[in-house]
Amino acid sequence: MNAIAISGADFLREHLRARLTLVLLVAIPALFVVASASVLGEFAAALGGSVAGDSASALGAGWAAAFLAGALGFFQVSSSREADRRLALAGMGAARVAVARISASIVLGVLISVVAFLTLLLSTGVTHPAHTFVAILIFALIYIGIGTLVGSFISGALEGSLTVAFIFLFDAFSGPGMSDSGGIAGVMPTRKAADVLIDAGAGMGSPVGDWIAVGLITLGALALAAAAFWLSARPRST
């Protein structure tokens, strides 16, 4: 195995060996999906939105994946910043550390999405499995970008996780189906992904334009994450 594969596997192992992470990996999707059908619908009605039923459950699975991916993305950067920089200085280089970190993050994103998807499948059933899974994965990947970006600017665990939670809450409650607000809500990164996921939950297809938009947003988020990992690991000039 080459250096990137070994370090990527180690970075992944680092998260999967944390028992609490594993518990949350199962508990958060269960909580979001099971609770979301009724609670999200009530919230949406109060905020002027219209999401309900299976669409609300599907959206809950997406938000569960987003929340977990955002938190893990943040801690991937903030908890190992100095150690990653030491490894880069030892000869690995910031670019290879960043590739290993982003690879581990994507694998974590896929794992999180699989758990959220399976929870949704067991809870309400899924009419369009591929459409639904990809939409959930998009939520996770976008939030990996948000979490790592926050982690590259904020090093404190409390401040950083609160910032990720704030972005998540604003994004979730101002998104499509949840409210009728325009303004900044219209430019939140998961807006199109939420449209796609609501369509999947309702058993409908999504317009090609929406898929192109979410594809571009996801690539942008991953590019941001890679840049954040690189910035974090890069040695300073000597």
């Binding site: 192992r13 680092e14 190992s80 150690a83 030491r86 200085l89």
Partner: protein
């Protein structure tokens, strides 16, 4: 004692593996109107040659670790020149490790970074034996005592036999026997030609060191 603000022209210093001169660094702390600038280094310079064991001492907050991080490349300097040659080994003051990975996994990771390949096993075996922590090789870092973490921290800096070894208070947490063994290891490597710079609080190790710089008022003074 005269302030040493520069290490001189590189061509005139034979066998130097590290030369730093005129290094300045300040930090900004607080928010307006209480924002203030703290000057830590005001033109510090030092030099380490092959086969030399050099100490860097100073009071708490004098800037020893800041200078070390600048020399290593972990921190940007405001002004000055730093020149290194050969392979670098760095042992930070606080062990920079991954809590959930094992000792063996750390050796493997750093072996790849140093591109040691086939020599990995023997390099790791030798250091595990030398520092006497073989039995912990399958332990995760979170399961290790402070002293054992520090042994691994040191071993990772040494495993590729660097030309320049930078040690930032490397023996904090060591028991007396390990402390003595650390000095034996350092002296042996110095005799084999390694250039070593050790940051310490104390001047008590004066007799073990070839030269000592004291960091005072942001400048290095050769003691």
């Amino acid at each position: 004692m005269a302030p040493n603000t520069g290490a001189g022209d590189n061509s005139t210093v034979r066998g130097a593996v590290l030369q730093a001169s005129g290094v300045e660094k300040s930090f900004h702390r607080g928010v307006p109107p209480r924002r203030r600038r703290i000057e830590v280094l005001k033109g510090a310079g030092l030099e380490v040659r092959r086969g030399e064991l050099v100490g860097l001492v100073g009071e708490n907050g004098s800037g020893k670790s800041t200078l070390m991080k600048i020399v290593v490349g972990l921190l940007e300097r405001d002004e000055g020149v730093v020149e290194r040659s050969g392979k670098l080994g760095y042992c930070p003051q606080v062990p920079l490790l991954w809590e959930k990975l094992t000792v063996d996994e750390h050796f493997e990771l750093f072996a790849r970074a140093y591109e040691l390949e086939a020599a990995t096993a023997s390099a790791a075996e030798s250091l595990l034996g030398e520092l006497q922590f073989e039995r912990y090789r399958s332990y995760r870092i979170e399961e290790l005592s402070g002293g054992t973490r520090q042994k691994l921290n040191l071993a990772l800096a040494l495993m590729h036999e660097p030309d320049l070894l930078l040690l930032d208070e490397p023996y904090s947490g060591f028991d007396w026997e390990t402390y003595l063994r650390f000095w034996e290891m350092s002296e042996r490597r110095r005799d084999e030609g390694m250039g070593i710079l050790i940051v310490s609080h104390f001047l008590s190790e004066r007799e073990r060191l070839d030269r000592i710089y004291e960091l005072r008022d942001g400048r290095c003074v050769e003691a």
